[in-house]
């Protein structure tokens, strides 16, 4: 069959159809690409348009409110009076102003016409002079200068306007032109200055009106708002960024969060509700934080995290994707950002959650296992100091050897004279150097001693278990501490029954054996009274669960009666720092009386007797507890102990017997378990004093790469459920420390050792926040931002560590707005109760003489003889305890309080002018005035009187107070300590001085000085005899009445 010719599909078929379709598709993809470029990748454009819409609405609403308010203001008679005065003043000066303006106007025209001519002339002349200056040939130079001279003389024509509107043409030589020009300008300056003088009064009136307006209208004026409205309407759609040049930081957060700095920039705080419910546009909720962290300098992402440069989508910008290492913090952990730069601050304003986290880290004993730079670092510092001491010792030995050699060589007859002299001089210099070294060594020695005293442990000393505890209670406690005391710091370890037995046995057998001196029982009723009034509740609590009253800083004592040995408890309450045996760090054991007897020494160890009789090492002579001595008498201690013994919910005899604890076979197993679980991190345990912490260092845990964090078998679950990040790990680990052992097959000792800390959700959030912020320097933020204060800032920073360590805030108010623990107790809610509260320490640095404060902190009884009292406020039942501060701690605290009040350091006591005889009389009159009988409330040292005293003794003033503060105090005490019993309004202002508000005694009527000043000087020169004399004069009863007078005074002011 012959083939039929066919059409070739390649040649014959048209491709226009497919080409058209493909081209259209290409066109569509191009359109898509353009859309993506302009909108898809720039979502901020939509946000900005939306913002403009909402913001203009918001502004319009505000404008309406404001215009109504301003209208009302304009109608007020005061405003109208001001307005009228202003109009009159304006009318008064109007003709003069008009005349000046007219003349200035004419001058301006003339000057501008002349400027042109003058500038041309000057240009021509100076150019020729330059030519002459740079001309190499001398004759050319002269020729040019002659030409210049000719031009200057020849002069210029100027066409100038005349006031009547016509023009005139004048001819000037160059010099004339210059003179004319200057004169015109001078005249104009004169006129303008004159105009200011003439309108001065009008200006003042305008200012008055403005001030009045500002005082009566809150917020921006209507015109300002209208300006903002126009600005908002014309908002340019563009990327808005903060660029900090020094740190190369670029944050474009504002491209979408348009209202976030509106409060700061223009004073309009936008709330989500106010701006159409869009949280995205709301102003930053903490303007006070922005005030100290200027966004223009700090940007946004260093604190909040996120990818500040990204603007293509919220997810990108917030850095919430796998490859951005520094994602936006979750709202509950925002304060992690603070920690990044403020790691060295123990207490930070505006960061309550973070502060709580840090507090918990120390309080709950995390620090016992996990090192964290800055926390409880005394042992490390002690080691550093010891190292330094050894280095100095070596250095000194080297110098001594060199002295010897120098002298030997110098005394050698072969040494030339010049050389010998040099060697002798060198030896002398080295001797001086050594003497300097000695001073340094002495300081280091003191420092080492101090550091040793400053080491505190989280848990109690377990060497004393046999003396302190009932044996049968220990295994019960170990089984589940939270069952016995839900709020305890002691975490619950996941122990097998066998492990509990071994650990209990080891602890029991390693304890110091012996007997406590037997103590007679006290009065439990009085004990309760003492317990509740002496301030024990500032740290401890009583009552279970919701009914607990008191602080969680230290143990809740509700069931203490079930576990404790009475005789030991009495001794503990009397002075908790008193050890039963001193510890020698060189021999690594507790010394016994035999050690002392061997050297013929009495078994005596305290701060004065703190060297080891065997090897001279510095001993640990006190219990490493922060619990201070309340300077109680033995009887008081017995009463409190007897009371505490009644605190129990079951009889101690009902505990199951635990005879196995005396089984020596369990000792070794117990010891290895104790070592494994790191018990010695928190407790002092015989033989394990020098154990290291067993946990990970958490100083930079927040920046540990996520790959290095062991999610174990939960990795994939975490990824799927979205918690494969640091926060997810920390939260889960804190809630259940065993969680990452799930599904793992491990030997018991290889399991995760972290015990169950029994934290609330809020506590977990706080600790997580703290850990999230614990990052390496510069992790996601410029390292320059790290807070490294000097002077005052550093003093404050250092002080907080001590203040929180000893729980000063349990009794005292230190930060404004922070209640102390005691302030929250029911006992102190009444006005009488409040007077029994320990003093607030706000502003105390301005109040107290630092030297006195140092002495007071060392011994709050202010007396070597009578320790059982408060040195200053003897009328308070709450006892300021003796904390046994070291010199360094006292220095730090004194500097801290000074720095909080902005005091210069060191303090130099100002000299007050002594009183003249007449002034003595006057001051006495004032001091004992019936309207302000100072001695009614202030203690005098007379026990009969001081029973009712509610204020300190005046004899302390001279040593204790600063005169400046004393004056401010008597002028207005309520503004320094709100609610103080000290009456305010005792003085009133009269011209430049303060005078007494009450009826003036005759002697003072013609006194021209400042009454408050006089009283202050009097107080600072007050002597014991003088005070006694005054007391006698005031012996008549009537304190109630006199107080009423002073109260009336307050009211009348």
């Amino acid at each position: 069959m012959p083939d039929q010719p066919h059409d070739d599909p390649i040649v014959g078929r048209s491709l226009s159809g497919p080409l058209l379709v493909a081209s259209l598709i290409l066109l569509a993809t191009l359109a898509w690409a353009l859309y993506d470029e302009f909108y898809g990748l720039r979502p901020w454009k939509d946000y900005q348009q939306h913002f403009v819409h909402l913001y203009t609405q918001h502004l319009q609403e505000r404008i309406q409110e404001q215009s109504a308010a301003e209208e009302e203001l304009r109608r007020s008679p005061d405003y109208q009076r001001l307005e009228q005065a202003l109009e009159e003043a304006r009318a008064g000066v109007a003709p003069e102003v008009e005349r000046i303006d007219r003349e200035v106007n004419d001058l301006n025209r003339r000057i501008s016409a002349l400027t042109d001519v003058f500038a041309t002339a000057r240009g021509q002349v100076t150019a020729m002079i330059y030519e002459a200056e740079t001309s190499p040939a001398e004759e050319d130079k002269e020729q040019i200068l002659e030409e210049v001279e000719r031009i200057r003389r020849q002069g210029f024509d100027a066409r100038l306007p005349v006031p009547d509107g016509t023009m005139e043409t004048l001819h000037y030589t160059y010099d004339e032109l210059e003179d004319e020009y200057d004169q015109l300008r001078e005249r104009r300056a004169f006129l303008l200055a004159h105009r200011v003088e003439v309108t001065q009064h009008v200006k003042e009136l305008e200012e008055q009106r403005q001030t009045y307006r500002n005082q009566h209208i809150i917020g921006l004026a209507e015109t300002q708002l209208r300006g903002l409205l126009t600005e908002a309407r014309n908002l340019e759609l563009e990327i808005k960024q903060i660029h900090v040049q020094d740190t190369e930081l670029v944050d474009r957060c504002e491209s979408c969060h348009l209202g976030v700095l509106e409060g700061r920039r223009v004073g309009i705080e936008l709330t989500a509700a106010g701006i159409g419910g869009e949280r995205l546009f709301a102003s930053h909720p903490a303007p006070e934080l922005l005030a100290i962290h200027d966004p223009e300098r700090f940007g946004c992402s260093p604190c909040h995290g996120g990818n500040g440069r990204a603007i293509s989508s919220p997810i990108q910008a917030h850095g919430r994707y796998r490859h951005w290492l520094w994602p936006l913090s979750y709202p509950e952990n925002y304060q992690a950002g603070c920690q990044q730069c403020h790691a060295r601050d123990m207490v930070l304003e505006h960061a309550g959650v973070l502060n709580r986290g840090k507090e918990l880290y120390r309080l709950r004993g995390c620090i016992g296992c996990h090192r964290y730079e800055g926390f409880d670092n005394e042992p490390e510092r002690l080691q550093a100091v010891r190292l330094q001491m050894r280095e100095l010792e070596l250095q000194r030995a080297g110098y001594e050897l060199e002295i010897q050699r120098s002298i030997q060589r110098a005394e050698n007859p072969d040494t030339p004279l010049e050389e010998a002299r040099r060697l002798f001089a060198r030896a002398t210099n080295l001797r001086v150097t050594i003497s300097n070294l000695e001073a340094e060594q002495e300081q280091l020695q003191l420092r080492a001693r101090d550091l040793m005293r400053e080491i505190k442990l989280v848990g109690p000393n377990l060497k004393d278990v046999r003396l302190k505890l009932r044996r049968d209670w220990i295994p019960v406690w170990l089984h589940n501490p939270h069952a016995f005391r839900p709020t305890t710091k002691m975490p619950r370890f996941r122990l097998q029954e066998e492990e509990i037995r071994a650990i209990s046995a080891f602890i029991w057998q390693s304890g110091t054996s012996g007997e406590m001196p037997p103590q007679p029982r006290g009065d439990p009723g009085r004990g309760r009274e003492l317990f509740e009034t002496h301030g024990c509740l500032a740290c401890h609590a009583l009552g279970e669960g919701e009914d607990a009253v008191g602080s969680r800083f230290a143990a809740n004592l509700s069931r203490v009666g079930e576990k404790v040995n009475y005789d030991y408890l009495v001794r503990w309450i009397h002075n908790p720092r008193q050890r039963t045996r001193p510890y020698c760090p060189r021999e690594k054991r507790d010394l016994t009386p035999e050690d002392y007897a061997k050297h013929g020494l009495p078994f005596r160890f305290d701060f004065e007797h703190s060297t080891c009789p065997n090897d001279g090492a510095e001993l640990q002579v006190q219990n490493m507890t922060v619990m201070p001595s309340l300077r109680l008498t033995w009887a008081e201690a017995r009463d409190i102990a007897t009371f505490l013994l009644t605190q129990r919910s079951q009889a101690p005899e009902t505990y199951a017997g635990a005879d196995f604890m005396d089984d020596p076979g369990l000792f070794e197993r117990g010891q290895s378990l104790v070592r494994n679980y790191g018990c010695a991190g928190c407790h002092e345990i015989a033989g394990l004093e020098e154990e290291e912490r067993i946990g990970t260092d958490l100083t930079t845990e927040g920046s540990k790469p996520i790959e290095r964090i062991d999610f174990a078998l939960l990795t994939h679950q975490a990824e799927r459920e979205g918690w494969y990040n640091h926060a997810g790990f920390f939260e889960r680990k804190l809630a259940d420390p065993a969680i990452f052992d799930q599904g793992k097959v491990k030997e018991p000792l290889e399991r995760l050792r972290m015990p169950q800390p029994n934290l609330t959700d809020a506590d977990i959030t706080a600790l997580t926040t703290f850990l999230l912020g614990s990052v390496e320097s510069g992790y996601g933020f410029p390292p320059q931002y790290i807070y490294q204060p000097t002077d005052r800032g550093r003093d404050i920073q250092e002080g907080w560590w001590i203040v929180t360590k000893y729980n000063c805030m349990g009794c005292h108010q230190i930060r404004i707005g922070q209640p102390s623990m005691l302030m929250t107790l029911p006992r102190y809610q009444t006005p009488e109760g409040r007077e029994k509260l320990p003093p607030s320490l706000i502003g105390v640095g301005a109040r107290l003489d630092p030297e006195w404060l140092a002495a007071f902190l060392a011994n709050p009884a202010l007396s070597a003889a009578n320790l059982h009292r408060n040195g200053v406020r003897s009328y308070l039942e709450v006892r300021m305890p003796t904390f046994g501060f070291t010199v360094r701690e006292i220095q730090t605290l004194v500097r801290f309080f000074g720095a909080l009040s902005g005091q210069a350091q060191p303090y130099i006591r100002p000299q007050l002018e002594p009183l003249t005889n007449r002034e003595w009389v006057m001051a006495r009159e004032l001091f004992t005035h019936p309207a302000a009988p100072c001695l009614r409330c202030h203690a005098t040292g007379d026990p009969l009187h001081d029973r009712n005293a509610t204020a300190p003794n005046f004899l302390l003033v001279k040593e204790r107070l600063k005169p400046g503060w004393t004056r401010r105090w008597i002028l207005d005490p309520a503004s320094i300590i709100p609610g103080t019993a000290m009456p305010s309004g005792l003085f009133r202002r009269q011209g430049n001085r303060w005078v007494f508000s009450g009826p003036l005694p005759p002697s003072l009527r013609d006194y021209r000085g400042d009454h408050a000043e006089l009283l202050v000087r009097y107080m600072f020169y007050l002597t014991r005899q003088e005070q006694r004399r005054l007391s006698a004069r005031l012996a008549s009863p009537g304190s109630v009445e006199s107080r009423r007078i002073s109260l009336n005074l307050v009211e009348s002011h």
Partner: protein, 311 residues
């Protein structure tokens, strides 16, 4: 079966070309071979029917009477290429809009990623590192591959098969290509992408990539298995084994090259240099799968252990 894991691997922007590869390569291989078969059949017809050979103008299939013997590049080829260019451009634009470049976090020298994978087109090379010394897998083999590819035009003694699809006229070349490209290069890329997980461990598709996975594998050198301990003995023994392999594989290659009359004809056209070059590259290429099998099936680490290199 961990579908989530599978999806994660397949959907990673980096892996899109390889997922496409999975479908495109078989398709085009099949498509090309189909065309080759049709052409081969036509060639056979023409050979058997001299008359037909005179009247038929095209040697390629399909062919219909009346079709021109040749057509111009412009516009007939160009317009098709233009259409293809438009379609590919549109495709690339859509691709670039929808998938972002897979940028990751800043590199951290203290923490390398796991698994750390090369770009997809280098994954075959990376996979070779499992089986050979870095020096051999990373330097020697890539160099040989390039030189071998460059040498092809010079060692090709077969003048047929230019400009149309055919299998019959180039069986050895096509088989060698299929083996080297599909069987080795593409397969290794696919293994590197889908199979190699954390720790470069072997995970079957659908297995969870567990970073903490532990496997027990002991790889031993061949001389150790045989019981040779001395280093000199190892060198000699390894050299002998490798030499033996080259001999054996050379015979095999020779067998393939002279398998039928047609290939023998080509073989006779070759110079000695051409023949030896082909032999060397073919045998070396064959060595790769042999080594892979030795490792995967018998857990043999190296065959030839010397202080300078290991094979």
């Amino acid at each position: 079966m961990d579908w989530h894991q599978l999806w994660e691997i397949v959907s990673t922007p980096d892996n899109i070309p390889i997922v496409a590869l999975l479908f495109l390569i078989p398709f085009y291989t099949w498509y090309g071979l189909r065309q080759a078969r049709a052409n081969d059949r036509l060639l056979g017809d023409l050979e058997n029917d001299p008359q037909k050979a005179k009247t038929h103008h095209r040697k390629t299939f399909p062919y219909k009477p009346g079709w021109p013997r040749e057509v111009h590049v412009w516009p007939f080829l160009m317009r098709i290429e233009f259409l293809a260019a438009i379609i590919v451009t549109a495709l690339l634009i859509v691709w670039s809009i929808t998938l972002n470049a897979p940028l990751e976090e800043p590199a951290n020298p203290n923490l390398t990623m796991n698994p750390a994978k090369a770009p997809w087109y280098f994954l075959g090379l990376q996979e070779m590192l499992v089986y050979f010394d870095p020096w051999i897998a990373g330097v020697l083999f890539p160099t040989l591959i390039i030189i071998g590819l460059m040498a092809i035009p010079y060692v090709d003694a077969n003048p047929l098969g230019n400009g149309y699809y055919t299998f019959r006229q180039r069986p050895v070349a096509i088989l060698a290509f299929c083996f080297g490209f599909l069987g080795l290069w593409v397969l290794l890329i696919i293994i590197g992408t889908f199979i190699r997980g954390p720790g470069w461990m072997w995970f079957w598709p659908g297995e969870t990539w567990d970073h903490n996975r532990l496997i027990f594998e002991v790889n031993r050198d061949l001389p150790d298995i045989v019981g040779i301990t001395g280093s000199a003995g190892k060198i000699v023994f390894g050299g002998m084994v490798v030499g033996f392999y080259y001999l054996l594989a050379g015979l095999l290659v020779h067998k393939v090259m002279t398998i039928n009359e047609f290939t023998r004809k080509i073989y006779r056209r070759m110079s000695l240099l051409q023949y030896l070059t082909i032999q060397f590259f073919a045998v070396t290429m064959l060595g790769l799968p042999v080594k892979i099998l030795l490792r995967q099936l018998f857990r043999i680490k190296y065959v030839w252990v010397t202080p300078w290199f290991n094979v």
